[in-house]
């Protein structure tokens, strides 16, 4: 690892302010946090958020960063997407109560392995495979590519339940300037996809063979989603001949982020 961000000394908690937020889907909300003294981050990294109750009880959760490290005239901005977890302790607060001007503690950036930057890999193509809200750190990579004016060929295979669950739908379906060379294929598990003619169903080796890169191209593969999804996709990629060394995975456990 050559990044100056990897190997950074002990991470402390910083105070962040919610600058703005909007619904990404019926159950997911995008949050933009303003952090005055953010050190920057790499695509794929995440942060921990810490909530403290009036009685001093604290709880922490990890969330992937959705956008590149960019400093606006108002200071550093971090974008996260929070999926509301039924009966969750933290996510219902963040999606339903947390309002512009409210403060929260943030620790990061975290993670030095599940990261992508244009300078790495010698131009090898990239395959991104997302399950549900596992799209968030992968979207960060697509946005980093655009932000850095990089032209590495990207393919995204995005598995979700129904169209209504799709995060970043506008951005992915109508690629803008700088997104030439990013191809997106959506796999729906609970409804048919009329445009591609693909029937409802879980992601398969045929999907990855059709929409991923041939193993001969030695693409770097990034897989993120619930544990079961990630295990299955990693197994399918190996069965298609991809090298374990080229597959990086990030699981977000049973309850989701």
């Amino acid at each position: 690892m050559t990044s100056e961000l990897v190997g950074r000394a002990v991470l402390g908690w910083r105070v962040a302010e919610l600058v703005e937020s909007w619904p990404e889907t019926a159950s997911a909300r995008a949050l933009v946090l303003g952090v005055p003294d953010w050190p920057g981050h790499r695509a794929g990294q995440h942060v921990d958020l810490r909530l403290t109750g009036p009685d001093g009880y604290t709880t922490e959760r990890s969330y992937s960063l959705a956008s590149p490290a960019a400093r606006s005239p108002g200071g550093w901005r971090l974008q996260l997407v929070v999926q509301r977890v039924q009966d969750g302790e933290v996510s219902p607060y963040l999606t339903d109560v947390f309002a512009a001007g409210n403060l929260i503690e943030v620790r990061g950036p975290i993670g030095g392995w599940f990261v992508w930057s244009p300078r790495e890999g010698g131009g090898a193509p990239v395959l991104l495979v997302a399950g549900g809200s596992g799209i968030v750190p992968l979207m960060s990579m697509i946005r980093e590519r655009r932000f850095r004016r990089d032209r590495t060929p990207f393919r995204l295979v995005y598995s979700l339940r129904t169209q209504a669950d799709e995060l970043f739908a506008d951005e992915l379906n109508r690629p803008g300037i700088g997104d030439g060379g990013v191809e997106t294929f959506v796999v729906r598990t609970r409804e048919d996809s009329p445009r591609s003619g693909r029937p409802a169903g879980r992601i398969s080796a045929a999907d990855l063979a059709a929409w991923g890169w041939p193993a001969d191209f030695a693409p770097r593969c990034f897989v993120c989603g619930p544990t079961g999804f990630v295990e299955e996709v990693a197994r399918l990629l190996l069965s298609l001949g991809h090298s374990p060394d080229d597959i990086k995975t990030e699981r977000f456990g049973p309850s989701g982020p």
Partner: protein, 90 residues
Amino acid sequence: MSTLQGNDFEDGNVLGGPFAEIFVHDLTAATGRCRFCGLDGPMAAVHVYARAPGVVVRCPGCQEVLMRLVSTPRGLELDASGLAHLSWRL
């Protein structure tokens, strides 16, 4: 809270935050070797059970415990006896 199941784990990518209180360098960027089966691999790929009291880190190869991190009233306790080796490329 849901019942624990066989695949009820997260992976080593979540270790960066909690272990930042102990290690100067990012644990998720390290390579570790299991003392039990000898598997050498990225710490980002280990299996993490964070719903136990504390954090339990298991080898993705043989499922033996590599590390335990527990916060107690007396302070922070780390047992890393399942690891033969940790290395960082800096």
